[in-house]
């Protein structure tokens, strides 16, 4: 199937998604939402890989996406576990209240 969507558009979408993710990480106070935003950023980069892979007809892009998927899964599980622990200890998920590690 011949793609009618140009690579530039896909890249633009990926970039947009990535910026949205960053904005989410910065703006959100709730850790769970920050985690979600990180997922968005991961998927944005994944999209870019896949698009690039199809553009140059190389399998590497899809291989990288599988890596990203695996990593994201691991990250989410560890991240959620940490969030649970944080909630247990601090009774809050507000990132601004979790500032114990300052110099």
């Amino acid at each position: 199937m011949k793609s009618s969507i140009s690579i530039e558009m896909v890249m633009l979408l990926a970039g947009l998604l990535f910026v949205l993710g960053i904005a989410g990480v910065i703006i959100r106070k709730n850790i769970i939402f920050m985690l979600l935003s990180v997922e968005v950023m991961l998927n944005a980069s994944g999209l870019a890989f896949v698009a690039a892979g199809s553009r140059w007809a190389q399998p590497d892009g899809q291989v990288m996406f599988i890596f990203i998927l695996a990593m994201a899964a691991a990250e989410v599980s560890i991240g959620l576990a940490l969030i649970l622990q944080i909630y247990h200890q601090h009774k809050s998920l507000d990132i601004d209240k979790l500032k114990e590690m300052k110099g």
Binding site: V25, I26, K29, D96, K99, G103
Partner: protein, 629 residues
């Protein structure tokens, strides 16, 4: 006799070792036996050696005995060698004999002191060091003895250590003499590089070859050595320690600060006379220092009320005479006066010690008085000593020795009338303060109750010393009567004869003037202190006289001068810099580092969103730089 030489210093040293190591365990009798015995034995050995030296003079004029080589470094190889010639013989004789007498006296004098063994240990160490000083064959060994006597002087001035003032006096003595000693050490460096050796006979032999008359190096060397002598012998400008040194026990003052140690400077100059002869400037300086010192110290002695301080200033003044004699080239006269002075000044100090002890440690002469009949032995011996000090004509030994100096001060080639006049004035003052002291202590009414009378152990040494103070002068009689020169004959083996100016009048006129000045001085004291004491009170009304009195009393303000000029600034700098200004630099570095890390750690806020923000901004900057370039 050569082989016995080492015994002379070794005996007192053995005494010191035994007393220092086992003094606490020994009973007082044993301490006294060892302390006084070792020096007395040493004196006997000196007698044996001396008799053999005089009866069969050695071919080269000296005995010498090498014990071992001290060190050998790059051509510098001083040996531990003892060397005895006529000059050392006189000194060794005085040191051991007067030393032995003073030790015997001390057995009784110090009998109640709790540190009996420490006293004798230090005294023995002193005699050892002093003997080493005069027997040393090279200047380094001499320096060992030189510093050794300084140490003993320090230890004994501060003998009663509970009183911080004594400790202060002791340190003052050590440090001021150390100033001179350091200059002398530099003198030794110069000598070593000039001659390649420090052995005294070699140096003296090479000096006239290497240096011409008036050579600049000779002057420098002589002046550096002189600085050492000036420190040790308490001459201007390093004289301030000696009056304070009277804090020590009286036998110490007698032995160290009158008879022997303080004349080490005289010995040094006499020993190195060839170098001094090569430098007329240095010779002149010696004479001027001597004259100035005898003058200044004489006036100070006139104003003191502490009997020991009077004697201390008088010692400074008498050593001034010796320096004057050395300076005008009357070498034997200086040594003769040294010997006589050792007798009568030791006598005076010991007698003063006896007086002080009898009067329950009263030093103030104005609180003494009327002892003439109560302590006849002390009175008579003290009188003889005083007569000798005041140079009472004809009958006292002091007359013969001082008269020679007065005569040479003008008549010798490098002498001049001014020096003579100052010396004559000095003789006048000497007589005055001596008479003043006699009158205050022994005449008048008794002001303090006397305690126990001094025992035999104390009086016998006094009597012996008194004998010598009277009769020792007869071995050297002036030209115009008797003309006996036993003493100078002996010393002329080592020291040259004084060169006289041409066309001098006879000595008789000078003797008459000296005679008059002595009696003038005595008469002055008689008027002011015995006949009409109210005159003193009248004089004290005048502000000028009072200021002058205080000025003289404080030793012409030298202490104050040194405090203001040297001591206070150094102490001030030391105290202000106690915490070390250099360390502030490093503390500054740590301070800046700490500030810097505080500042950086401020950015470590702990807020995750800040960090991400930073990350993003950083990424954007890097990317934009990338794109722009």
């Amino acid at each position: 006799m050569n082989n016995l030489l080492w015994l002379v210093p070794a005996l007192p040293f053995a005494g010191f070792l035994i007393l220092a190591l086992a003094g606490k365990q020994l009973s007082r009798v044993w301490v006294a036996m060892i302390g006084a015995g070792s020096v007395s034995l040493s004196a006997i050995v000196v007698l044996i050696i001396g008799i053999s030296f005089l009866s069969q003079p050695p071919a080269n004029g000296n005995y010498s005995q090498t014990l071992w080589t001290w060190m050998q470094v790059a051509g510098f190889n001083p040996k531990i060698t003892l060397f005895l010639d006529a000059l050392s013989l006189v000194f060794v004789f005085v040191i051991t004999f007067i030393g032995a007498l003073i030790h015997i006296y001390s057995v009784a004098f110090m009998a109640d002191d709790k540190d009996y063994s420490r006293f004798f240990a230090c005294m023995n160490l002193f005699v050892f060091s002093m003997l080493l000083l005069v027997l040393a064959d090279n200047l380094l060994l001499l320096y060992l003895g030189w510093e050794g006597v300084g140490l003993c002087s320090y230890l004994l001035i501060g003998f009663w250590y509970e009183n911080p003032a004594n400790g202060y006096a002791a340190r003052k003595a050590f440090i001021i003499t150390r100033v001179g000693d350091t200059a002398m050490a530099i003198g030794l460096f110069v000598i070593f590089y000039q001659f390649g050796t420090l052995a005294i006979p070699d140096v003296l032999a090479k000096a006239p070859v290497l240096w011409h008359q008036g050579a600049q190096m000779a002057t420098i060397t002589a002046l550096l050595l002189l600085a050492g002598g000036v420190g040790k012998s308490a001459q201007l400008p390093l004289q301030t320690w000696l009056p304070d040194a009277m804090a020590g026990p009286s036998p110490v003052s007698a032995l160290i600060h009158a008879a022997t140690m303080v004349t080490a400077g005289v010995y040094l100059i006499a020993r190195m006379h060839i170098i001094f002869q090569l430098s007329p400037i240095a010779q002149m300086i010696v004479a001027v220092i001597g004259a100035a010192t005898l003058f200044i110290a004489g006036f100070s002695a006139l104003t003191q009320y502490d009997i020991k301080r009077v004697l201390a200033y008088s010692t400074i003044s008498q050593i001034g005479y010796m320096f004057l004699a050395l300076g005008v080239g009357a070498w034997t006269a200086a040594i003769f006066h040294f010997m006589i002075h050792a007798f009568f000044k030791a006598l005076l100090f010991l007698a003063a010690g006896a007086v002080i002890e009898t009067l329950h440690h009263e030093h103030n002469m104005f609180k003494m008085g009327g002892l003439k009949n109560k302590l006849p032995v002390i009175f008579w011996t003290f009188l003889i000593g005083s007569a000798s000090l005041a140079a009472l004509p004809l009958i006292s030994a002091g007359f013969y020795s001082k008269d020679q100096i007065l005569w040479y001060a003008w008549a010798s080639e490098s002498g001049n009338p001014l020096l003579w006049f100052i010396a004559l004035l000095g003789a006048f003052i000497t007589a005055a303060y001596t008479a003043r002291m006699m009158i205050l202590v022994f005449w008048g009414e008794a002001k303090t109750e006397i305690g126990h009378h001094p025992g035999k152990l104390m009086t016998v040494p006094l009597i012996i010393l008194a004998f010598f103070s009277l009769f020792a002068g007869f071995i050297e009689l002036p030209h115009n009567f008797g003309h006996l020169t036993l003493f100078s004959n002996l010393l002329h083996q080592v020291l040259p004869e004084a060169v006289l100016k041409a066309g001098m009048n006879t000595e008789l006129q000078f003797q008459i003037l000296a005679f008059l000045s002595t009696f003038g001085g005595i008469y002055l004291a008689y008027i002011f202190y015995y006949k009409q004491p109210q005159r003193i009170e009248k004089l004290k009304q005048s502000g000028f006289v009072m200021n002058l009195y205080l000025f003289w009393f404080s030793g012409w303000g030298f202490d104050k001068l040194y405090n203001v000029l040297i001591v206070n600034p150094v102490v001030f700098i030391a105290n202000i810099n106690k915490s070390d200004v250099v360390d502030k630099l490093y503390q500054g570095i740590t301070f800046v580092t700490i500030r810097l890390y505080r500042f950086l750690s401020f950015t470590q806020s702990g807020s995750l969103r800040w960090y991400i923000m930073g990350l993003v901004i950083g990424a954007i900057i890097i990317l934009s730089i990338q794109i722009m370039l």
